[in-house]
């Protein structure tokens, strides 16, 4: 707390102050200053200044939320209060916790709030996997705009088209953000998540369900309307579960028809099928238009299981983890190459043509 904060409090007392247990008002007989522990009445301006100085935490806390964060209408106000658990703990408890740091997880992000001078907050933002890594061992960032670059590639250098895929790269830290810059940085890493979470908390999240999204599509995407409910369930299971995207899915087939696929566990909601989902849905619709056929293959039981293991390994993103010499894993590269060499042919598996009519 500093003189400017006390000055601002005296000024604000004319209109009345009420934040986190601090109440300051002006009535005819003078100022009234109240915290959960103390009440002072009939104060002159200089007496108000004195008692304010005896409750520096309450005053700086009031100043932070009203003057620095600029009040409760904004998503960042809700978010920053959530970060430090402001609605769950009173000011003294919170300030004690903040002195050593309060940490929250937001998707793969780890955010630690601590007290800075005069009751301001500073925030440390990093990947949750780097929570216990010392700052010197991480790449240090200052400018929120750089977060766009952090979000572009995963740890293997692959492009990440979906911001909330659980593949955010590690090894970086923003050690000293103020509240506004923290929210800005989080929004570059996970666009619109703070805003939609804020709307949801206020009961104002506008969810657009799949059928409505599909009806809106034009051009080459207009065919996504043709996705059946079974295909939609499979598409959501393929794309919208926690292992693929951290948003918590709030949309369903339509308002009356929930999908069985789990919604996800994270704090921030998904209010509408995203562009990647719509693109995938378009492909799934075209796949669904094909008629099934019967093919005859000669495979040993183990080879059949091997084909299944390969599908699983690709679907679960496990291919890179399979050890070079682990010949017991059906999706091992040598095993896959052996299967292809032994059972493959000019026309694919078991040399069976995909379109036999073209080969008669």
């Amino acid at each position: 707390m500093n003189d400017a904060q006390v000055g601002a409090l005296v000024e604000a007392a004319e209109e009345g102050v009420e934040v986190d247990g601090l109440r300051v008002t002006r009535v005819d007989e003078g100022y009234r200053f109240e915290t959960p522990e103390t009440i002072h009445r009939g104060l002159s301006e200089s007496a108000l200044r004195s008692v304010a100085e005896e409750s520096p935490w309450f005053v700086s806390n009031w100043h932070y939320w009203t003057h620095v964060v600029e009040g409760p209408e904004r998503a960042r106000y809700d978010f920053l209060r959530w970060v430090e658990g402001a609605d769950d703990h009173d000011v003294p408890k919170r300030y004690e916790a903040l002195s050593s740091g309060v940490t929250r997880e937001w998707g793969q992000l780890s955010i630690t709030a601590t007290l800075a001078d005069d009751g301001l907050r500073r925030y440390d933002l990093r990947h949750g996997a780097d929570r216990d890594v010392s700052e010197e061992d991480l790449e240090t960032y200052v400018d929120p705009l750089d977060a766009r670059g952090i979000a572009t590639y995963d740890d293997d250098g692959r492009y990440r088209p979906l911001s909330t895929a659980p593949t955010l790269r590690t090894g970086w830290v923003y050690p000293d953000l103020d509240g506004r810059a923290l929210v800005e940085t989080v929004e570059f890493l996970y666009p619109a998540t703070v805003e939609n979470w804020h709307r949801e908390r206020r009961g104002e999240l506008d969810v657009t369900h799949f059928r409505e999204t599909a009806e809106r599509q034009t051009g080459i995407y207009s065919i996504v309307e043709g996705l059946t409910v079974e295909e939609l369930e499979a598409a959501a299971e393929a794309c919208c579960v926690d292992s693929q995207c951290l948003k918590r899915r709030m949309w369903d087939e339509d308002e009356e028809t929930p999908l069985r696929v789990p919604r996800g566990e994270e704090a921030f909601p998904c209010r509408e099928p995203c562009s990647l989902f719509v693109t995938a849905a378009r492909k799934f619709v075209t796949l669904g238009r094909e008629e099934t056929r019967s093919y005859e293959f000669e495979l040993t039981p183990t080879e059949k299981e091997q084909v299944e293991a390969i599908v699983d390994a690709v679907a679960d993103g496990r291919v890179g983890e399979i050890r070079e010499a682990d010949l017991n894993d059906g999706a091992n590269r040598y095993r896959a190459r052996y299967l292809r060499a032994l059972r493959g042919g000019e026309h694919g598996l078991s040399d069976t043509p995909t379109y036999p009519e073209d080969h008669d």
Binding site: T152, Y159, P161, P191, T218, S275, T279
Partner: protein, 291 residues
């Protein structure tokens, strides 16, 4: 408070697609003309659908970083942004290159949205094309002894796509600066691979009217021009083709002066931009390029 939202296509596959959008947004941010500057994309995040809720400003200027009026600027963006009451006729552009702006409320936010015509059809875009020619040749006076070829994608699905190319071709021809100025296309006549047939000038600057470098500008076009047999091996600037020296510029949208076009679009829609255009101009003075 006023915000600028630059909307572009983006890509699920190519991370470089959004780079020019970020660069121009950063240049405009640095001028301080807007309280907030945001990028939004069709294929990346934040999406067109959600970007308006991420700005706090009451006045929002939306500038599409697209080359032509057409499917995206007339249908997709207004629909996804939920611009209430949007009609193509609001833009009053009967010739496909004259859209300026129109003002709406979006139905999920309490804001006024000034929806601007695409950057690519603004008259200042002609200057950007010329600037691109200066950048690639490293000559601020480039013109005499040079032909200028402007490449458009061209498509039968959208006639406005070619109109934007012809519009700038005609304007630059009218500047009487280059010996010859011609429009060529990837998907319609006259085609890129015949470019040397249209010029008698010994030197030809080739500028693709594309927003970002990617598959077309880095792979197809250098091969079609005959600058290289295989894009993976790169291409020379300038390169020799059929007795002409070809200065291939890459996508015009990467030119830093593009930020000026975006600012101009917003200013025409009523944004207060102070001296931001001058500051962008200083920042984007032609660099001496060439390899």
């Amino acid at each position: 408070m006023q915000a600028l939202v630059i909307v572009a296509h983006g890509s699920h596959l190519n991370p470089d697609s959004s780079t020019p959008t970020y660069d121009h947004a950063d240049a405009i941010r640095a001028t301080g003309a807007f309280d907030e500057v945001r990028e939004a994309f069709w294929k990346e995040e934040p999406s067109f659908r959600e970007v308006l809720r991420t700005v706090e400003s009451e006045e929002v200027y939306v500038v599409p970083l697209f080359i032509s009026e057409g499917y995206f600027t007339e249908q997709v963006i207004p629909r996804e942004m939920r611009l209430e009451g949007w009609e193509v006729s609001d833009w009053d552009s009967e010739d496909g290159v004259s859209a300026t702006f129109a003002t709406y409320r979006a139905n999920d936010v309490e804001k006024t949205i000034h929806y601007c015509g695409p950057a690519g059809t603004h008259e200042v875009m002609s200057d950007v094309i010329v600037r691109r020619a200066e950048s690639v040749t490293g000559d601020p006076d480039v013109g005499e002894g040079f032909g200028l070829a402007i490449i458009g994608h061209g498509t039968e699905r959208n006639e406005n796509s070619a109109k934007a190319i012809h519009y700038h071709t005609d304007r630059i021809r009218g500047m009487d600066r280059f010996d010859e100025v011609e429009a060529v296309f990837m998907d319609e006549e006259p085609e890129v691979d015949e470019v040397t047939e249209f010029f008698s000038a010994p030197e030809i600057v080739v500028v693709p009217l594309f927003v970002a470098d990617g598959f077309h500008t880095q792979e197809d076009i250098p091969e079609d021009l005959g600058l290289t047999d295989d894009f993976r091996e790169g291409y020379p600037v300038p390169g020799e083709v059929d007795g002409h020296r070809i200065w291939y510029a890459g996508a015009v949208g990467t030119e830093s002066l593009m930020a000026d076009v975006i600012l101009e679009r917003a200013a025409e829609a009523g944004a207060e931009i102070g001296d931001a255009r001058e500051r962008i101009g200083e920042r984007s003075a032609p660099s001496v390029a060439g390899e």
